[in-house]
Symmetry: C5
Subunit: 354 residues, 5 copies
């Protein structure tokens, strides 16, 4: 097998299983930190090199090797080889366009998912890839970028709160997935709140901005769908297919996780249907307003066009127009105009246009 | 495991299985009442504390421990522990965004559903969470808020009418679900009646209000769907999977319940399709009316614009306009105008615009 | 169990299995007629009371107890008890909103379906509930209202035509379902004919009436769908699941019935898609016509607005307007107007608006 | 069982299994021709009566009894009885609204499908029913009308080309179905070509004709779908379920047939989606054009309305209008008009309306 | 069996299994090149005739017989016969409208798929058919046209990079499919980039070009769907059903391939939904703009029409109009006009039209 480069040349030309970082070129550095813990002790080593990883591999208790940033492909490859991770799995870790999936490599479970995290600009958010390798006694996690995603979880382990310190790495994997899924809920809740504003704006004063906001939400929903749908397959497979790597005691937790994923998808589907209903409402709303504008224009124009014609008629300069000489002609014509205008108003009233 | 607080801090940071009330902060108090009954006797104890619950737990006959209001998390936790309810189940009881579900914890069945109840404002309604724990000899029910939901059922038990007094708690659970499902029917019937008004309004005089009413109904239908769809899974699972907690004698009742849920979903789906058809009708209706308005404007404008031009022509002040001097010019021009207007009217008739 | 009343109080408060007539309060009376027949003999007793039913129950040959009108709840209840029909089944008979279904009660098959019958107003139609109890040697049928639905079938039995006189009640049940399904075909054919008129009207002269007709057809299709879809489950279940009450010799007939139901659903789905395509066509048609109207308005207005301005210009009363004095000014201005109008006409021609 | 008439009275009143021709009353005559062949010999008898059929039934080799035209119900019934075809199958042969289906009657396979054939008017086409009875050593085929559908196939048998002369009737049945399916491809290809014209017309110059053409194509697609979908079930069932009547040697041919049916459905579904996309394009296109027309109207009207007002202002006949006397007033007003018009033009430019 | 011609006469008339090139008549010549390789050696013979193929057939190691261009039907037929390929499979090779499929002919696997390649015009692309016959020790590949599709793969084999030189032909087949699937990704990525431009154009300045671009993308997505969907069945079948021709060691690679196909379909479906959302946005956008245009027209017309009428009124030439003589009449009328215009402006402000 060939050595790899960190170039972004089209992967197509490469042999399958050849590593290279495919995806958003955001983070060039790669840092590894290690957490080891059991019911009594907790130790965190912030920045380790590969030799230290090698040493810690055989430490007692639960070990969490956490990799942040996917820039240093060579280090990642060595790390993968150290833990016996298949080349194709490492390729998936590096390809941040990878679809979420769960694969059983006998000795370890390999899992890719998408986590939501706030982006750098305000109100923006990013979907970041998180990959897990769950082996006997350890977890190897890969995050696309450094983030605060697992900060609360780390604190919980450090403080020894919850049951996590008494459990095996499979519970840690569950806890990480739980964090990932809960973040979807937080996002969906935020979007739900924004939907109410959009609804109001569509009903009361629809603008082009509202329309574009609707479209952006639709696109976001599409992205979330692509991230969430495979998660359902993953949680369902975890629950049913992998008893040899997942202990029975965490089954209720996995069932709970699965429930949450299904619920998130439920909310997302409702959101999508709501967005579609709002788009219809928007279109009808705009049509309604145009209708109203047209009606006013029609009323004004239809009333004034005939009486303006009458005025123009008597503005003609013909020598022989007997009406012009008559004393009562002017008031008579004005009365005629009033009659025409009044008649038209009555006509509009009967049509319920006013 | 950690003690819980009743704060509404984001649950994400908490360890799974940590109790806290997640959801609408409506009702802070928690009251427990107990009903015990058998074929001969019926006793209702309105407000009990945990000690009294403990005492009544081992009473003979059927016991219904009814909890209303989810504000007092600590009491609920103690109550859950007293009956051996799993922490994750108690978490679901407290999270009123929970998706309806049925879970088998060997010793008891745990069930969450959504009940419909009238809201405080007129014509409003609220979807409230009802959770049931069906154990051997007892039912533990949790309602998000105090309500009249089970009033008729309680009276039936008190009066000893129907077969309920001779049956086990599984029949009581069925009867409660039956009430919940029947309330969906009542709501769907009301909505069905309102649909006829909306239809009429769309056909005869579509307004912006009609449009917003349509949208609100669509959103209601979405909410009902999210509440009803899981109920189908629940009733189907009750029917097929849990013979050890559900006696065979109530199978026909469960089949009936399942039928009702499917029928409610049928009606709901029809409602949704009808709403979508009405939205189309609305849009076409509005377009139709605009078309009519446009036609009138076009007819009026098209007739008067040319003849007004003719009038303006002879309103020009040129010295040398020989027509102005002629005696028959004025009647001739008026005749020309009439001819133009008449010709256009005939043109519109042939186009069937009038 | 409680005795029942024929009030229409909300069923929700009643114990499950308590009988009351829920549905359209159309027909208060209940009449029972009995047909007994075998290969040689046929006897019809038009109006019997419960005692006569009891006596005829044990007669030899095939017995068809036909109930028309669901108003007399007490009689129906007694009748149900006489034949050992489950209370929940009798409740379904009386609830005319019941979803079509087939249930196996070991001793008998219980079946609910919806039959189409002409309504009282011209061109109206009603969907009426028909329930069947197929037991050993007899059929008990309940029709919501008296009707001519089974008139031809009765005549066929009376005349001894077809194979029906040689067959068991399961064949009679099949024959009744066959009549019900054939009526759907007749209706779908009628609707198909009407669709051609609607199509023509949409293409040639779309009016608001057309639009409302389209919507009414959509709603009818929705109703038919709710009636037909469960019928497919019923015919499929009859074919596969109930050999102990349905003799093997009628299997080809049931297969034929199932084929017909599927075909009716096929036609219905095509109808629905066609209706949706016609709605789109309507909308585009209306938009097209508005476009045409707008084009005419634009052409007329755009031609006359500039030349009317020119006329107004020379209608101003300024003292010092040198053009007004010139001899050739008037013809020159008229020529200018003609040039402007002609230029605009050419412009419209190049844009293919004319 | 009753004798049948060829009247078109509603079939509903008839006993099931009673024959009568239901469907389009196109062809009253019925002709039977017989082809017998084996590897060495081929004989074609063009118009035979029932006695000759009886005689040929027991001839050696492959026998194809081909019936064209379904008008003579009595002959068809006798023919059916002669070959032991079930009454319900014969009823399906005569009902040309029959859904395509495949039924196993132990001794023979019964198959109904829809073939496409050119209609009498140019560019029209008709969907005609073809029914097959595949027995041991013979095929009995029923075509709704005489046609050239199987002309090429007959020639192939006559010339002894291809493998057909060496094969059993099951291969002949396959060959006939292959002809039927290939005709769908030819039609879909033609429609595909027409689609390109429609596309061009929608994009460049959408007219009402285009719209109606789109709708007609949609309806055609619906019809084809109803004909093709059951064909998939048929080809799949032939492949999997009937080894006792279909020899193993033709399995690759049946697989090929099944592939073709699936491919035809694929193309049809693409066509349907394309039609729907084109409808959207049409609607947007029309809206676009209306927008363009409106913009021109708005520009012309908005420029001339204000300056025409100014002209009218100075066309008033008040005695005391000091401006009228001033020498520079006329050029000043004209300059003002030019400024207003120019300003508006600049405004439109900045809005990108021009 | 008959000899074949390369005419494009309608295939319908031909016996099944008769070869003829059906499809786009692009490439008349047919060239065959052969690559043989094992871990140590690699040999490429660029243009061989059938005799050389025959000779190379029994060479040791992996053999790849690569056919480019499908014009020479006779050569292809001889080649097919030489490798014992079924006539129906060869027919599928030649029919470039063939749906992608995988078929097991016991001795070899036959596979058809669609590869994407750049077309001759800039920015155009073509979907070309690639067929593979995977036998023991060899691969026979047929490409519709010569192309650079497998250039990188060939180089990799030549250079001995990757594991391909150590593997059997099944790995080569996988590698070819991998190239095909990766090309879909490249295309989908390009389309994804173009979508962002289209989005921007829809939001900021929607034109008719944008609309047509949207439609073209929809049609492209339809084509890709028809090519990709069967690929999923193929990769899934490869993974599960053919262990006797596919060695177990390449299972992880096939799983990876399957994942990629599913991911490509995921992206495609998102693209389709996005296109549909953009179409809605376009329509709403156009309606929005028309609304804006209408509002301006209405404001201008509504303000000027009444005041122009007033001016026309006093432009009438009646003898007896007392106002005309009054000194303050002119300023009073101008003030009235200003009041009317101002009032209307205030009215528009309150309606939020300005």
């Amino acid at each position: 097998m060939q050595s790899t480069s960190d170039s972004f040349s089209p992967k197509t030309a490469l042999s399958p299983g050849t590593l290279s970082h495919v995806g958003r070129p955001r983070q060039q550095t790669t840092t590894i930190s290690v957490m080891t813990y059991d019911a009594k002790e907790y130790r965190q080593v912030p920045r380790v090199n590969l030799d230290e990883v090698e040493a810690l591999k055989s430490a007692p208790g639960c070990k969490w090797f956490r990799v942040q940033g996917l820039g240093d492909v060579e280090t990642l490859q060595d790390l993968g080889d150290m833990f016996g991770v298949h080349r194709l799995a490492m390729e998936d870790v590096l390809n941040t366009y990878q679809r979420p999936k769960l694969e059983d490599f006998e000795d370890y479970l390999f899992l890719v998912c998408k986590a939501i995290a706030p982006g750098e600009e305000e109100n923006s958010l990013r979907i970041r890839q998180v990959s897990l390798v769950l082996g006997r006694g350890f977890i190897l996690s890969f995050e696309e970028e450094p983030s605060e995603l697992f900060a609360a979880l780390l604190k919980r382990i450090a403080n020894g709160r919850g049951r996590i310190r008494n459990m095996d790495p499979d519970y840690l994997a569950y806890a990480m997935l739980d964090v990932v899924v809960d973040n979807y809920f937080l996002l969906l809740e935020t979007v739900g709140d924004q939907m109410e504003e959009i609804e109001e704006s569509v009903m009361i004063q629809p603008t082009t901005d509202t329309l574009q906001e609707l479209y952006r939400k639709k696109r976001l929903a599409l992205q979330l769908r692509r991230a969430l749908m495979p998660l359902r397959e993953i949680s369902s497979a975890l629950l049913r297919e992998y008893p040899h790597l997942v202990s029975e005691s965490i089954a209720p937790y996995l069932r709970d996780l699965h429930d949450h994923v299904i619920q998130a998808i439920d909310i997302l589907e409702s959101l999508r249907e709501n967005l579609s209903a709002l788009s219809d409402l928007y279109l009808s709303s705009i049509n309604n307003r145009m209708n109203e504008v047209m009606k006013l224009l029609t009323i004004i124009a239809t009333i004034f066009i005939p009486i303006t014609f009458i005025a123009s008629l008597y503005g003609m300069n013909f020598k022989h127009m007997p009406e012009l000489e008559m004393v009562w002609a002017y008031p008579a014509v004005v009365a005629l105009m009033a009659a025409v205008a009044g008649g038209l108003l009555v006509f509009f009233k009967t049509r319920k246009w006013m």
